[in-house]
């Protein structure tokens, strides 16, 4: 959708359904392998566009006039295979080989790699590939623990990376990672990609009924961000993102853990004013965080804030690691990460310093380690 709105060229590849359908008809699929097919959207109103990106109304489909204003290429695997069933490239799967040839042809013919300098306007090619690695592409990594050819997908990605690096194009690929049993392949795929984002839907999992997650439909994990042309990369502060699919909008939000509300010292300054968890929520906590339930129960009954957490450090040294690993899964708020960094003798700024008081009880104690 962004490509259409910005006037870029599109290349849509699919083995599942004809690309026309992806671009025109709205198919709203839920499930673990979802990726937001925001290709079939319409702009709600031009005035609400921010400096980067636009807003879309996902209850409507895109108008045909808008689609006709750009040039788009399609690749539908069953059709392509019927035309050239024998195409082979370096022992790669036939479907992947076909797709690579097709992409390379478009890049070369339309001049995205600078091969036709006489073209006046330079444009960008946006490539979208649906469900790569699935059985429909002829690859068996999703259906077998010991696939016949584990290198097809990674070879494909490497050649694609080369094509993208030398042309004005960008590519987004969806991969049904929950079906791929061989974890080594996923690690290699991640290594060969620039940016890796994972969507975890709550449907069908125990989290669907968990009150912690009642406002959301799933979690968004950012596994990798590009580090290009620079030593540093632009990592955001928060890693705890969840998404929500409303009738007209798909939003991604920062998730606040419920736990955070109880232990934020600022919100309640006297013992009487503290928020009391309902018994149901407390129980869910204890069931959900099985290993750390003892720790958290202890903390809840004593209404321990972060300060007390640190003062009881000695007693909890042995269980320290437990707190840490569970905390990661909880994706707790920043203040807790601060406390855990102190636990691990790691540096942390600001809030952590004023919290921690050394045994000498100085005004602004500093970690002695």
């Amino acid at each position: 959708a962004e490509g259409v709105v910005c006037g870029h060229d599109l290349f849509v590849a699919s083995a599942m359904e004809p690309p026309d359908n992806i671009l025109k008809v709205k198919t709203h699929r839920r499930g673990k392998d979802i990726l937001i097919d925001h290709n079939y959207l319409e702009i709600a109103s031009p005035t609400t566009s921010t400096k980067f990106g636009h807003y879309y109304d996902i209850s409507k489909t895109m108008s045909p006039e808008l689609l006709q204003s750009i040039k788009w290429h399609s690749f539908y695997l069953p059709e392509e295979l019927s035309l050239e069933p024998k195409l082979k490239m370096c022992n790669m799967n036939c479907g992947y080989a076909n797709l690579l040839h097709s992409i390379q042809r478009v890049i070369y013919q339309e001049g995205f790699d600078g091969s036709h300098p006489q073209k006046k306007q330079k444009n960008i090619l946006r490539i979208g590939i649906q469900s790569l690695g699935s059985l429909l592409w002829g690859d068996d990594i999703c259906s077998s623990d010991t696939p016949e050819d584990i290198h097809s997908l990674t070879k494909f990605l490497y050649v694609l990376r080369g094509l993208l690096r030398k042309s004005l194009s960008a590519c987004i690929i969806t991969v049904p990672s929950h079906l791929i049993q061989n974890k080594a392949i996923m690690e290699r795929v991640t290594n060969l990609s620039d940016m890796v984002v994972g969507l975890e839907s709550f449907i069908g999992s125990e989290r669907e009924t968990n009150p912690l997650y009642k406002d959301y439909h799933g979690l968004l994990h950012v596994h990798q961000i590009p580090r290009l042309n620079s030593l540093i990369c632009d990592v955001s502060d928060t890693k705890d993102l969840a998404f929500r699919l409303k009738r007209k909008q798909f939003t991604i939000e920062v998730r606040e853990a419920v736990l955070f509300h109880y232990f934020e010292p600022k919100r309640w300054n006297t013992w009487e004013n503290r928020p009391t968890p309902t018994s149901l929520e407390l129980e869910d906590f204890l069931v959900f965080h099985f290993h750390s339930s003892l720790i958290f129960f202890f903390l809840i009954t004593l209404a321990v804030g972060a300060r007390q957490l640190l003062e009881t450090r000695e007693e909890h040294l042995s269980s320290r690691l437990l707190i840490l690993t569970q905390a990661e899964r909880l994706c707790m708020g920043r203040r807790f990460f601060t406390a855990f960094h102190i636990f691990n003798e790691l540096p942390c700024k600001g809030y952590g310093l004023s919290l921690f008081s050394a045994k000498a009880s100085t005004q602004r104690g500093i970690c002695s380690h």
Partner: protein, 265 residues
């Protein structure tokens, strides 16, 4: 060139060392800043460098190298740097016409015609063997990164053979140095990758192991680096292990002892 890392390693561009095999490993984080460091370090030291860059394009390394004070285009023009851009070479192999000079492509194993990495080794050997009189201070082979060869279909044994042949030529015959990066992930599910990494670790003189923090992301500390110096391959002396934490900045990487980041002090 990262000055602080040079201090920690006891290295300086005036004495680049000879016959050393350095292994760079990263798990769960990006250790490419070490590759950039060694690239600019050896170029500054006046060595001839053969850089097998499999994962990124030339312009990426060039832009970062400029921030570290070295120009790769200038080095390439004066013959000090031989750059193999893996992505481009792969495209030429698959989509290009036949080689006019008749030389096989260094990444020929991708096409499946051979299963060994001999073509790649021949490329390294011809680029580092001095054709003219030795005008450079030494020879260096730099590889980023070896795990990509496994993804492209090379067997772990083939990769280890390739490195072995390179060591014979570069470290023994030419008295040069080799620096190799092996990228891994936190979960360590890739057995072939671990095999290559551990096997090379046994033969290395110096191992720089970069890991992310166990507690997750932190803005002021990007990770931990373990420096393992092999004092002697023959004797049973213990390796020297040092651990530091680091923070990557735009043009520099600062290293500090654990818990002593500038954010705290």
């Amino acid at each position: 060139m990262l000055a602080e890392l040079n201090e920690l390693l006891g290295a300086s561009p005036q004495r680049p060392g000879t016959g050393k095999f350095t292994l760079l490993r990263d798990t769960g984080t990006d250790g490419s800043f070490l590759v950039h460091h060694f690239l600019s370090f050896y170029l500054r030291a006046g060595c001839k460098v053969c850089f097998v860059a499999l994962l990124q394009s030339f312009s990426h390394y060039n832009i970062v190298a400029q921030k570290l004070g070295v120009s790769l285009t200038a080095a390439r023009e004066r013959g000090q740097l031989v750059f193999l851009e893996g992505l481009k070479s792969c495209l030429d192999l698959l989509f290009g016409e036949e080689e006019p000079s008749g030389e096989p492509s260094p990444l020929q194993f991708i096409s499946g015609s051979t299963s060994n990495l001999k073509a790649l080794f021949d490329f390294v050997r011809t680029s580092l063997t001095p054709a003219d009189s030795a005008s450079w201070k030494g020879s260096v082979l730099l590889v980023d990164d070896l795990s990509v060869l496994l993804s492209l279909g090379a067997a772990p044994v083939a990769v280890l053979d390739f490195i072995h042949y390179c060591r014979v030529v570069v470290c023994s015959q030419l008295q040069g140095n080799i620096v190799v990066l092996v990228h891994g992930s936190e979960d360590a599910e890739d057995e072939e990758n671990d095999l290559v990494g551990n096997s090379l670790g046994h033969h290395s003189d110096l191992i720089l192991w970069v890991e992310g923090l166990a507690t997750g992301f932190c803005k002021d500390v990007h990770g931990e680096i373990k420096i393992i110096k092999r004092l002697s391959l023959e004797s049973t002396e213990q390796d020297l292990v040092q651990v530091y934490q680091y923070k990557i900045q735009e043009r520099n990487v600062t290293f500090f002892a654990r818990g002593l980041s500038a954010a705290v002090l």
